[in-house]
Amino acid sequence: MTDPLIVLDHIARRFPSQSGRAEFTAVQDIDLTVNEGEFVAVVGPSGCGKSTLLNLISGLDTPTEGLISIDGERVRNTVRQDVGYLFQKDALLPWKTVQANVELPLVFRRLPGDHAALARDWLSRVGLSGFERNFPHQLSGGMRKRVALAATFVYGPRILLMDEPFSALDVQTRNLMENELLELWRQNRKTVLFVTHDLEEAIALADRVVVLTSNPGRVKKEFQIDLGRPRNVNEIRFEERFRALHEEIWEALREEVARSYAAQRAHG
């Protein structure tokens, strides 16, 4: 057994609250490891600190307590260079063309080679040949996500952090993108940490599902997903084993969702 690639050791992140003196604890006591090439999905009710977790691993944010290391090296408060991050919201530069957006990480990283050709190659792999000169606002939401995928894969990060990347898409586009993601992942075998509030999506995509508690987020339970690959997200939902896993994990998740809902109502 080799060492895990990502290790989170007793992580806590607290934010100073703006109004009172009370701090807001996003996540607490998180212990989590991710192996190289593994696809891990993190599920939890809204507001349980899932995005905070990804920000901490990417180095965009620093934990208040605990230690994060990637490949044995401690993550300090600089942004990791071997990480790709797909955000829930659109993050493309609206004033640059699709082609320029995909080239941008190569420019930022001062990588050698033919940027234009590399970008074109990745755009064709996500099915966007012919859209190089378009601006993001001229594309549909699904197409913009594909551009974002291409702009992430183009510089070959080892680790892929995904923060509910498909949640804003309609169901059909979303399933299409999930299948495309699985195909890209099969070819490249990145280490993926995929955050979602959708349990079906988590089971359909991942090797392992981690359930977080409602705020503050802690690891409640982990589940190994022993479904075969390659998978088709449209069909796998009907398999016996999928349904059994869904039932089992939902048992753990239900309580947290209810508690998060109650807390939101109390505050709202």
Partner: protein
């Protein structure tokens, strides 16, 4: 039928204008209003034509335009510099915040007498007042705009490997351009207002001086014709320069 409606739709704002002018003309022709105080469209039109024909208006347009161009350019540049300064040094912005609030809230025309006292009745006092007005608008527009640059876009660029310089060049400056152009479009009218208000108070030439002279000599046609030229310049500048500029920039502005 549909076509007729379309033509009428496009023409109706002009029809309203023409009807207003006709009403004005009629009221003064038939003794409903006193042309000595209200003048009448034909008199004003004749005066406008006369000023153009003799070249009398040229010098006054020139003076006002120079005041505006100098004050506007300096005000835009100063506003941009301070907005970027505030953005990159938030401590300074915090310290200056009350001043900015006052600058924005106070009616700046009140400073016109002060400007004339300090900088004389020549062009300088007008330039300074224009500068101040444009500076305030640019600063507020741009500073707010920079603060509202989408956090996700910045985070995404950082994960993709952007350092501070990359961020400025590829994220903040392009984002700022939109706000600068919209501030420029917004402030041009205010710039002319500032120049003309200051000319009203103390000047020997310029469009504001024409209006002031018309008032003290009870020549309402002078006031109307002066206003006409002031409005015409703003419309021309907006139509020929600023609106096309904003249209060019806004092809990606849809979020």
């Amino acid at each position: 039928m549909a076509r007729l409606r379309q033509v009428l739709g496009a023409a109706s704002p002009w029809l309203i204008l023409i009807m207003l002018l006709l009403a004005w003309q009629g009221a003064t022709d038939f003794g409903l209003a006193d042309p000595r105080y209200l003048s009448r469209p034909t008199t004003v039109a004749a005066l406008i034509w006369d000023w153009i024909r003799t070249g009398f208006i040229l010098r006054h347009v020139e003076v006002t335009v120079i005041e505006v161009v100098v004050g506007y350019t300096a005000g835009t540049l100063a506003g941009m510099a301070v907005a970027f300064g505030f953005f990159f040094f938030p401590r300074v912005a915090e310290l200056c915040d009350p001043m900015v609030v006052v600058l924005n809230a106070a009616p700046r025309a009140i400073l016109a007498p002060f400007a004339v006292l300090l900088f004389g009745i020549g062009l300088l006092s007008k330039m300074m007042l224009v500068l101040l007005a444009v500076f305030a608008i640019t600063l507020l527009n741009l500073y707010t705009g920079l603060k509202e640059v989408d956090r996700t876009i910045v985070d995404n660029a950082r994960v993709m490997g952007a350092n501070q310089r990359d961020l400025a060049r590829h994220v903040y400056i392009p984002a700022a351009l939109v706000w600068i152009v919209s501030a420029m479009r917004n402030s041009i009218g205010h710039a002319f207002t500032a120049a003309i208000v200051c000319e009203l108070l103390g000047a020997t030439e310029g469009l504001g001086w024409i209006v002031a002279a018309g008032q003290s000599a009870v020549k309402p046609d002078w006031i109307m014709a002066g206003l006409f030229f002031a409005a015409a310049i703003v419309v021309i500048v907006d139509f020929l320069v600023l609106a096309p500029l904003e249209r060019r920039g806004s092809h990606w502005r849809v979020f």
